[in-house]
Symmetry: C2
Subunit: 342 residues, 2 copies
């Protein structure tokens, strides 16, 4: 019997634009014992990611929306505290899709053991988790960069963008990007090894800034932002260029459609390929990808940055940082002590 | 010395919307003798294709615009009447990129000999020429259809569309499309073997018509039209579907941009690939493709339709039929006698 309180943040109503406190509710109950084949974990970390905003709406998407009253979804890193599954024992550190809550009960099959020797376990939510794997699969399998080509990435200092840029550099590409503050730009240039990066808020003419960052045009655009940035990069794609559409964060909180000129003709002019991607479509290759990413980190070829917010109750307030540009690196909420001390 | 008159239709001014007679000028001169290495042909047939409209504008495209005073471009089938190139002799039937004129002088390297035993020589401008090769390369290499999948094609009775549909049928796909008249729809269903085809002008709700024609959704969309049709099909693409963007004829005569809601997000929802294509990018495989198309025609697995307009001077008037929907099948202008009698 576990006497802890099970704390959950649930969706109280569908947000309109940026989320506000009233869109969420903190619900408390007793922690339930796991059933047969299930594992109970206490959450150490959970992730805040832009895609969660879409799941709070009830419009069509690649997965069902969070129901009203349901826990906000997302990956979690937790410690097993009670197990009724042969594969897990108390003390194991695991990743699961538990969402914004202090405890997660799930069938053992839904848990992934984390190798704590690989890197700090929080990276299972970032560079060695969904964002890192998104960057890896999306860049290499959809973007198909070749050495010597120019890769452009928007939201370049973000959890996905910074990984994209560094993989592109490792693969011998010229790497350019844009970010929303001078500090972020400096991080991309000085720590991630971008060849060029600019602050899209202060650069003046966006077309000219992209042209200056990519004097030979863009062969691969890894699109995280959409909207004006995505469209402007698209107009500088070279013939036969590829555009991997990973996210369109600029409109995740939009309440009005963004009206633009139909540009299908441009696809013919430059013979571009524009393809949407979702990390789960490449899951069969996750293990190999994670090992390669971890190798690059160990060798010092790849760096990453995390911002940790303490306290489950602070998740709703922190969530908007993803859209306001005030977050830097992977945004993670710490709910409990990390026994690996990472 | 050749005493014939060389007649050419040149661009007199840049059109605004649909072309009018004043946009063109008929110019006459003496036929010049070919230079060293050159071949003089008299034109038998030349083609009228939608892409020519774009080349009359001076906006950026995949090739330079026709200059003011320049001959309108396009493929021609001609008979060699004088040759100063070892590879050709009078009487040879050849294809070249001569445009809207009665005679073409070109280096021998720019001519392709036509095998007159393969099919009527006019097909070098249609099913065995640019439109047929566009259908072949675009469907198979960009659309990547698999047996059992649903292929949708707009402008389905056109020179490209009807070939797309028939190749898709040969490859074991369910084939659906739309066209602009009941006669065209009947041709697709009865002669080309489409599984479903509808008249987009009389179908009522376009979404419902596509859904009825494609009950399992669309796995490959071969886009010839763009605009509302292209966008509506895009919303019925299945996950991992491919959209080959071949043309956007609905806006070739537009003078105002077509404003639409930005839909990059949809690319992620369905993980679609949208890719522009141009037949010349696949030229290295043309010979094999042409042989396969000719084989299908010989076996009776593929049919085609041509509309022949007589007289060089009638080309400008006939050209608008491509955009008004009053043309049916491959539109060709006959300038001189066809000695093969095809």
């Amino acid at each position: 019997m576990n006497n802890d309180t099970h704390r959950q943040i649930v969706l109280a109503r569908r947000p309109n634009g940026l989320t506000v406190a009233e869109d969420f509710e903190l619900r408390e109950s007793a922690v339930a014992a796991p059933g047969n084949g299930e594992v109970l974990t206490r959450t150490i970390y959970f992730t805040l990611d832009p895609y969660m905003r879409g799941m709070m709406d009830d419009t069509e998407s690649y997965s069902d929306p969070v129901p009203l009253g349901g826990v906000i979804v997302g990956s979690t890193v937790g410690e097993v505290i009670e197990s009724r599954h042969n594969g897990f024992k108390p003390g194991d550190i695991v990743e699961t899709y538990g969402g914004w809550q202090s405890h997660v009960t799930a069938p053992g099959e839904m848990l992934r053991p984390i190798d704590v020797s690989l890197a700090p376990v929080s990276t299972a939510l970032g560079v060695l988790g969904m964002p890192g794997l998104t960057a890896y699969h999306g860049l290499l399998k959809v973007g198909e960069p070749k050495a010597g080509e120019t890769v452009f990435v928007s939201a370049a200092s973000g959890a996905v963008g910074a990984t994209v840029g560094q993989i592109a550099r490792i693969k011998g590409c010229r790497v350019a990007g844009c970010a929303g503050s001078d500090e972020k730009v400096a991080y991309c240039l000085d720590e991630c090894g971008f060849d060029a990066c600019f602050n899209y808020k202060t650069c003046g003419d966006l077309s000219e800034a992209i042209r200056a960052a990519c004097p030979n045009g863009v062969d691969v655009n890894f699109e995280n932002v959409g909207g004006e940035i995505g469209r402007t990069v698209m107009m500088q794609l070279n013939e036969q260029a590829r555009m991997a559409v990973c996210g369109t964060i600029s409109n995740y909180n939009s309440t009005e459609p963004d009206m633009v000129a139909d540009n299908l003709w441009w696809y013919i002019v430059r013979r571009i390929k524009v393809q949407g991607l979702l990390v789960t479509d490449f899951a069969e290759d996750d293990e190999r990808a994670r090992a390669e990413l971890a190798g690059w980190i160990r060798e010092g070829a790849m760096t990453y940055r995390e911002t940790i917010v303490d306290g489950l109750e602070n998740a709703p307030g922190a969530f908007n940082r993803l859209f306001e540009g005030s977050n830097f690196g992977k945004l993670i909420v710490r709910v409990g002590d990390d026994p690996t001390g990472s």
